[in-house]
Symmetry: C2
Subunit: 249 residues, 2 copies
């Protein structure tokens, strides 16, 4: 039985906790949160601490807090020889302080409170400062997922940047489309099958080969008509710059 304590109570911590509780060979030791009521009801009250001085020994401490708070939280783990990992896509492994047993467990997925995540398909990007601890991380990760990768801090930065493009930015473009629909009394729902197919297609085709639309066809008339329809200067600018980027490839 591997004992795990989670330091943090945000979205990543929330989904991690839910998944740890489902595993037979993992034990949730404690959860640290500044606000007790932020932790899911599935965790018993005596497992939740609001003071890091109350931290008990565990096989691994997983810090799931904002990037800027990782160093500070890791410093507050005053237990001897603790194995401490963070879950950030952007911070290097050395952001962990006050221990030689450092690691990273970065789940390459987007987490929201209201959407359950199938961990089985989530890529776990692992890094550890020594081989034994890497093995422990690996043992934990394969409980959750079939997709485990050994990823360096440098590689992880690249993956995180790419993830911003394929997730955060694409989601925002959908948000702009929803606004366009609302402004024109068209139901956004009609676009949902297209959104799914756009993603499904990229499981079998490279995005370069999957590109369709007026820009790649050089259909100047349609592009002009679209720009005319867009009254809002922000949407117009985004339309123009991405269209140019497609044309110039």
């Amino acid at each position: 039985m591997i004992t795990i304590s989670i330091l943090g109570a945000g979205k990543v911590a929330h989904h991690l906790i839910l998944n740890i509780l489902e595993q037979d060979n993992l034990k949730l030791q404690q959860v640290y949160s500044r606000h007790k009521n932020k932790v899911t009801d599935l965790v018993t009250d005596n497992q939740i601490i609001t003071d890091l001085n109350l931290l008990e020994p565990a096989d691994i401490f997983i810090i799931a807090v904002s990037d800027d708070a990782i160093a500070e939280v890791s410093k507050s783990v005053v237990l001897n020889n603790a194995f401490i990992v963070h879950t950030s896509g952007t911070q290097p492994i050395d952001e962990i302080q006050n221990t030689n047993r450092k690691g990273v467990l970065y789940m390459l997925q987007t987490f929201s409170y209201d959407k359950e995540v199938n961990f089985n398909k989530v890529p776990f990007c692992l890094e550890a400062s020594n081989t034994e601890d890497f093995k422990l991380l690996d043992t934990i990760a394969i409980c959750f997922t079939e997709k485990v990768f050994k990823i360096s801090s440098e590689q992880r930065k690249v993956i995180h940047l790419s993830a911003v493009f394929v997730n955060n930015f694409t989601n925002h473009l959908c948000s702009l489309a929803e606004e366009i629909c609302k402004e024109n009394s068209v139901p956004f729902d009609i676009l949902k099958p297209l959104i799914v197919e756009t993603a499904d297609k990229l499981q079998v085709l490279s995005p370069k080969d999957a590109q369709t639309g007026p820009a790649i066809r050089g259909d100047v008339k349609t592009i002009e008509r679209h720009l005319e329809m867009l009254k809002d200067s922000n949407k117009k600018e985004i339309y123009q710059i991405i269209t140019n980027s497609i044309i110039n490839k």
Copy 2:
């Protein structure tokens, strides 16, 4: 048995033909293509014509050619009282010439030759200049899909513009991410589960509620680090403008 002739041999025509051939109560009458070898082998040679003067009567003629060619192709249908529809997202119904029986059958989906499409989930946006013809279009559409919508030419323009954002533009952002991965020797495949989850999430959450990432968190440090990593001025500009757009919402 409804007889259908397809005028055109591009991607939309290709997928339409494949799906008509699978239907028991639809009959593919003829396919018009300037180049005989562009039509799938599943269509027999004597069904393919390269001259519109050889067009036989059919219950409906579906024009699936580039937007600019619709008017010209429709004029070349010299049969009396023909019901002619186009498949364009952007052109109004009146782009069809030389007949009073006009219509539109716009499939809101992205089509590539190498990717089979499950028509059952594709929204069919229908429009016709008279009620009887709309009924015929509807009868055809429900053979293919469970999602049939009556959509005016004005609404269709809005849907098409929105589709450019949720499909063409998001696909291009994935293409940029693939370049970033390649330049840094990280496998793009690792991002594929995230791409699928990004789309899946939007089936249950509005894109506004689904937004995550450094921009929505106001995480200036990460944004600065990302901009530093992007050497290419085009990617940098796109990163900056979409990030600002997220922040300003």
